[in-house]
């Protein structure tokens, strides 16, 4: 698998798009999706919620386990992906595209986000 170059990554295996008009899109990486297995339920933050970098803001359930969802940045949620709520398997089939999870108006981002190459080295994938 390859991690898109234009994205940045957290050590919690989330990805963050380039910030456009102050808003970034967030999802989980293909590595994380594969580790989870088939995602069957996604509880996402709601529009208007404030999320904090490194803190949980939802959960993803797969056949074998449930995992907390972390936000890689701090800010206000401007969108949650209803397609994923309706069909959580999008997280597995298109983690970097149609399986995005939520968008945040970024107030603050941590200094330790990883580049694609750094994340590939970190995750071993």
């Amino acid at each position: 698998m390859s991690n898109p170059q234009q994205l940045r990554y957290s050590k919690e295996h989330e990805w963050l798009s380039a910030v456009e008009d102050g808003v970034a899109t967030i999802g989980i990486t293909e590595y994380a999706a594969n580790a989870l297995g088939d995602v069957v339920y996604a509880q996402l933050p709601e529009v208007g919620d404030t999320v904090t970098a490194g803190e949980t803001c939802g959960e993803l359930e797969s056949t074998k386990s449930v995992s907390d969802l972390y936000s890689p940045v701090t800010g206000e949620v401007t969108a949650a992906n209803q397609d994923v709520v309706d069909d959580p398997s999008l997280v597995n089939s298109a983690p970097f595209e149609g399986g995005w999870l939520f968008k945040v108006r970024v107030a603050e981002e941590p200094a330790d986000l990883l580049s694609a190459d750094e994340y590939t080295a970190f995750s071993g994938n």
Binding site: G37, T63, V66
Partner: protein, 375 residues
Amino acid sequence: MSTAPRLTALDALHRSLGATMTDFAGWDMPLRYASERDEHNAVRTRAGLFDLSHMGEITVTGPEAAAFLSYALVGNIATVGNGRARYTMIVQEDGGIVDDLIVYRLGETEYMVVANAGNAQIVLDALTARVAGFDAEVRDDRDAYALLAVQGPESPAIMKAVTDADLDGLKYYAGLPGTVAGVPALIARTGYTGEDGFELFVAPVHAEQLWRALTEAGEAHGLIPCGLSCRDTLRLEAGMPLYGHELTTALTPFDAGLGRVVKFEKEGDFVGREALTAAAERAESAPPRKLVGLIAEGRRVPRAGYPVVAVGGPDGKVIGEVTSGAPSPTLGKPIAMAYVDAAFAAPGTEGVGVDIRGTHEPYEVVALPFYKRQK
């Protein structure tokens, strides 16, 4: 204890297929190859191929083999016909379940006991201790067999392509020696999926040849390799207990709703008789918790160990515990098996929920199994 995982004879093959591996009872086993839901659905609608070589085979031979097994286990093994198999259990003196087992009668005086991987040593030790005084021998054959399973409605057609054995004459819970894809095998019509299927015990050296032949024969029938993840959801839908979840040493077969496997009418004494007699009376007069099925009304998944609670009441009283839970691919909803207080165990009981990480989610109480195949 050794920490290095044990590898099956098919380990390299699994890795070449891209399997995600997992530790299971000290074995490195395939968890899934791609999507566990696709694997689950393949077994329900077509066929799946499993490596189950972690299961523990123990051979019992000798003139008193049947009498010994009837003493050591709760079932009446003396009534198992040649070429037939029996689901049974081994218990402690206090009636607590040590393991659930399948016993295959391979010959006039030869039986094969198949134990769960995590219990194989304990079962072997117990049988070895209990055989004293019987003219019978207990042999550890764990390394003598690889075990492959073909499960699903297409499995008879796939098997017919690779063996001349009389499969039509092979009933559910029967086994016969034969040749499959050119290798000698014990062919058993057993499984743990709720579907028709076969389990093939072969020498480890033949496992890869057999796997490849079954893969090839199964291609036109939609057979795919399947891991332990879907095996768990398949057995859960079929209401089949799993040791360590629905069955433990703290429970008797009667507590688990499986008192039917205990055969008090058999000849002679057997280990656990006294305690199980009392357990049977208790289950009749003052039943403890009962094993039930739960179906979610929402989408959050109950997991083993989550409390079952009374909802709508004042205090969310704990009335039971989930033993196994998963999203059910067939029902499209989360399901669970749980032990609940007898007062809440009747199908349709109102006001039952599961405490899912602090939130009480409503659940419907149903009779097991969740899924039964059309025959």
